[in-house]
């Protein structure tokens, strides 16, 4: 009797030991991820903060980009991002409305969804080739803000569709039924009832899309980005400098790579602050909204 309970006890101890071991491994892996993020951000801030000044973000680069600021790259990235969202947002929202409000489960919706997933998986450099082959060469836009914005807009489309679908689905079915029961037509229901309620969700998704568009390099390399411009773009058919491309150029092909290291870190810091700042806003709005939800 005694030995049986002892054996049981042992095996219980062994089972809990295994559990402890497993939990420690799991906690460790979570810790590694947080530390990696923390380490990268710390390193960038630590090395980059020194060059950040008002002049750095408002001046043109000077002395073949070894001194001066990065203002044209910041402006260029803003232009490209605004362009990308103006392309991606309307297309994405309309796409999502069809998928959630109109389409019936079946072959067609399945094919469309597979298409969206495949588009989301297209490598960024292939988007770059596409932008070059289609907008720059075939449609003869040249390397320009227009070509870059369209390429980036198509790149972020799956993100926006996904976020919009999610937001539209979260609007309770009873809202739609109440509206339809009052004799309101379907599309008025969508525009007056469903869309306004889904709008905050759609916006947070789009903000994440903005972050993505601002940080991409490969899609704009052959479609919009210039090594150096001495003035700001005059029209959407001009090339622009952009922050991500500027980092790549300075770090790999600059005139004096080692000497401009501080400027490189500074540019990286500005880009990271921009992108993560935008992402953080989206995350905060979303968690605020979840708490505020009335239904």
């Amino acid at each position: 009797m005694n030995s049986i309970s002892k054996a049981q006890n042992n095996s219980m101890q062994w089972r809990y030991f295994k559990q402890k071991l497993f939990f420690s491994t799991v906690r460790l892996s979570a810790l590694i991820i947080v530390l990696t993020l923390g380490g990268i951000i710390f390193h960038i801030v630590f090395n980059g903060i020194g060059v950040i000044s008002w002049d750095f973000i408002t001046q043109y680069p000077t002395d073949s980009m070894t001194k001066g600021g990065i203002m044209p790259a910041i402006i260029g990235t803003l232009y490209l991002t605004v362009g990308a969202i103006s392309v991606g947002l309307p297309l994405g929202i309309v796409s999502a409305i069809y998928l959630t409000e109109y389409a019936k489960q079946g072959k067609i919706i399945r094919i469309i969804k597979v298409g969206i997933n495949c588009l989301a998986g297209v490598p960024s450099v292939v988007f770059g080739l596409f932008g070059l082959g289609f907008f720059v060469v075939f449609l003869k836009f040249g390397s320009s803000i227009l070509a870059g914005s369209l390429t980036l807009g198509f790149l972020i489309l799956p993100t926006i569709i996904g976020a919009s679908e999610e937001a539209l689905k979260s609007v309770p079915q009873t809202f739609r039924e109440a509206s339809l029961a009052l004799g309101v037509s379907k599309w008025q229901t969508i525009f007056r009832i469903v869309l306004p309620n889904a709008l905050p969700g759609i916006m947070t998704g789009s903000i994440l899309g903005i972050g993505r568009a601002a940080g991409e390099t490969a899609p704009i390399m052959f479609t919009a980005a210039a090594f150096f411009t001495s003035r700001l773009p005059g029209s959407i058919f001009d090339e622009v400098m952009a922050l991500p491309y500027h980092i790549y150029v300075l770090a790999t092909a600059g005139t004096n790579i080692e000497q401009t290291r501080p400027i490189q870190f500074g540019t990286v810091l500005v880009l990271v602050a921009l992108v993560l700042g935008v992402d953080l806003i989206a995350i905060i709005i979303r968690s605020y909204m979840r708490k505020q939800k009335r239904w």
């Binding site: 939990f23 979570a30 991820i33 990268i40 298409g115 969206i116 997933n117 450099v125 569709i161 379907k186």
Partner: protein
């Protein structure tokens, strides 16, 4: 126009917009083929895919992308080996073990990690990891397979973690309760019940993570070293396909064989990632859990 016809018209317009993702995929294929296929009038597809020498700018240029394919595959495999344990375990931690406050922090960290622009991670690998690795292991260069794989893994972790987490959440409560009722520990419930039930979702996550890694451009461009030869050790440099495209497109004369070869490389890359995405889609669709009774 009466109301019903108007409704119908709106539905059709929305449907056309919903097809946009498929249309864009078509446009991508069209431009890749238009610019890339003429290459195969000059060399055979076999020599292109299995050719061992990539000397695009030599007097008699050679366009064999086999070393580039090997480079892509090898960094993807190593990145997956690093990212899968960290991604899946962190997902287990978030969905099953972590207290609410840590969960929020970890989820935000992973989301911010996903938001880091690839050029920033590439820069970090090049400027911080490479010199450290070169010194510590006494290597000829820190820009090599190991370094590129680690950085790619950092990019793939958020994808793997967040999709795995969704899969773990989807495991029905009854399964867990039944397991606890039989006297299983939490560890046993996780490894024998929850993980197997979520396996198809986790597999989807892994494949999508791999697809992300194989198509990632800036990291391999800046960190993999760029040697277009078959590697002999894990500390050798490689030149994955996206790196080759991004690095050389700027210098390849318009519609030269070199330019066409880069587009043709893009075609190979496109179909490789497409295949990954279709497999992932197939798995997630086929094993979709429909209520707790079907498993």
């Amino acid at each position: 126009m009466n109301r019903q016809r108007k409704e119908k018209l709106i539905k059709i317009i929305f449907f056309i917009f919903a097809l946009i993702s498929i249309i864009i995929l078509g446009m991508i294929l069209f431009s890749l083929f238009r610019e890339g296929l003429p290459l195969f009038k000059k060399i055979s597809i076999y020599d292109f895919v299995f050719g061992l020498e990539w000397y695009p700018t030599a007097d008699t240029p050679l366009f064999g992308i086999f070393p580039l394919i090997v480079g892509s595959v090898i960094v993807t495999i190593f990145a997956t080996l690093i990212a899968v344990p960290l991604g899946v375990l962190s997902a287990v931690y978030i969905s099953e073990i972590a207290p609410q406050s840590i969960k929020e922090i970890l989820k935000s960290s992973i989301e911010l990690l996903a938001g880091l622009p690839s050029v920033v991670l590439g820069f970090f690998g090049m400027v911080v990891v490479a010199p450290w690795m070169q010194e510590t292991f006494d290597l000829p260069t820190g820009l090599n397979i190991v370094n590129a794989s680690v950085i790619l893994a950092i990019m793939a972790i958020p994808t793997i973690s967040s999709i795995s987490e969704d899969a773990l959440y989807a495991v029905s409560r009854e399964f867990k309760e039944a397991s606890y009722a039989l006297g299983a520990t939490k560890f046993e419930t996780i490894t024998r019940i929850i993980l197997p039930s979520a396996l198809s979702g986790i597999l989807t996550a892994v494949i999508l993570g791999m697809s992300r890694a194989i198509g990632e451009t800036m990291v391999v461009l800046m960190v993999a070293g760029g040697a277009a030869a078959l590697p002999e050790s894990i500390f050798d440099s490689v030149r994955p396909m996206p790196a080759s495209i991004a690095a050389e497109m700027g210098e390849a004369p318009y519609r030269s064989a070199h330019y066409q070869a880069l587009f043709a490389t893009g075609i190979v890359l496109f179909f490789m990632t497409m295949m990954f995405n279709l497999i992932a889609d197939h798995i997630s669709h086929k094993f979709k859990q429909v209520g707790s009774g079907t498993l």
